[in-house]
Symmetry: C2
DNA sequence: ATAATTCTGGAACGATCAGTCAAGGAATCG
DNA sequence: CGATTCCTTGACTGATCGTTCCAGAATTAT
């Protein structure tokens, strides 16, 4: 049977992603991928090239299918809630039994140079994009007056990026969403709203509550 | 040549640790270990058992040689400075060209189940010990009055653990101590000292500067 | 219908994997 | 000095690794 492709590239990438995600780059064999995707050895090589090329394609697929929707949480108009929603999405994903725990990119980043330079470059670029996306939200927060302008937005963006990565690590050891929630809530307390002197939100001052 | 052992176990563990650390568990072959340690295949198996057993021994060695000195930084009397010194030690080691970047335990934790249950259990236990050590420092801080007693010490300990792990991840992608320093400084701002009402430190109040 | 095209399936490649084992040599003990 | 004990050595095993390749079948174009 042949003459026309028997599979959709997206489906194959979906399944290959699941395998790489669950077992890691090194530990995943071509045989694993063949069995998981259902396509043949020859087709796999003809379509994607060697293992590293396939993995690069999987990484792109991951960032598109998994990373992009998470970053989309940052579109939430309220900047602080945007960050919170990003964290919530990370926790949700880490707790979703339908997918492996942790982040494929984070896992790969720590899997040492074994993966190859091109892979590590792509992952570093991805982390950079996340930091930039967070940074833009923070700047927005500073201009709209919900974040203290004196706080260094770049440092803060790096910090939130670090916390997000830490979540992925901690979750690998302790598969407990409550722990992640603790970490997130604590981490958000670095967020300082401007002094309430020229505050615009409510005319009345005095103790809230 | 033989009859008596030709090598010191500690030396072998040192070198095996370096290889595992640099390349990861899966990517390290027995052949790599033989070449790095200088001892023979048979001796290696006779002394340490199989690859997983050897790695478990390496992990113990790592926690003793690397982890313990870092946790010792927490003995600093001033609790807040104790945490800061732990972070400083992490940054220092991540920037020391003499050793691979990142943390062997963290790397392994993310290398997926490929390593085996016993390994993952040991790493989870290690993370738990770190959290506990941090927790004790925070409790000490609350009793000596340098940390707001209302802050949940357990959550805070988990948080600092998460930040520490995040450092190891971020450093893999961006080998820049300044970035890690940014993250640490920002993360410390969650530390809230008690209200200065019944303050004991200085009798005089008024603006410090 | 015939030719050209394209994908599939599986055999096969050399290399490398983790792990085993028997032979041999040096130190120790009597 | 002889027997014993222990370690070292390197060849070896079967399995699996990533990768290549080709014959065959099904589709498309002519």
């Amino acid at each position: 049977m042949s003459g026309v492709k028997q599979f959709k590239t997206g489906d194959v990438l979906d399944r290959a992603m699941a395998v790489f995600w669950r077992r890691g780059y090194q530990a995943t064999s071509i045989q694993d991928l063949i069995e998981a995707t259902g396509i043949n050895r020859g087709s796999l090589y003809a379509t994607f090239g060697d293992k590293q090329r396939l993995f690069l394609a999987v990484l792109d697929h991951y960032m598109e299918q998994v990373g992009k929707p998470m970053l989309a949480e940052l579109n939430e108009p309220n900047p602080r809630r945007a960050i919170e929603r990003l964290f919530a999405a990370i926790i949700r994903r880490n707790s979703d039994p339908a997918w492996p725990r942790g982040c494929l990119a984070t896992n790969t980043a720590l899997e040492c140079p074994g993966a190859g330079d091109e892979i590590n470059r792509k992952i570093a670029a991805n982390l950079g994009q996340i930091e930039s996306a967070i940074y833009r939200v923070l700047r927005r927060a500073q201009t709209d007056g919900s974040l203290e302008p004196n706080q260094d937005a770049r440092s803060l963006a790096r910090y939130f990026l670090g916390v997000a990565q830490g979540l992925n690590v901690v979750n690998k050891a302790f598969a407990d969403p409550a722990i992640l929630q603790d970490i997130v809530e604590t981490s958000m307390s670095v967020w300082k709203a401007p002094q309430a002197e020229g505050v615009k939100r409510t005319a009345r001052s005095g103790p809230t509550v």
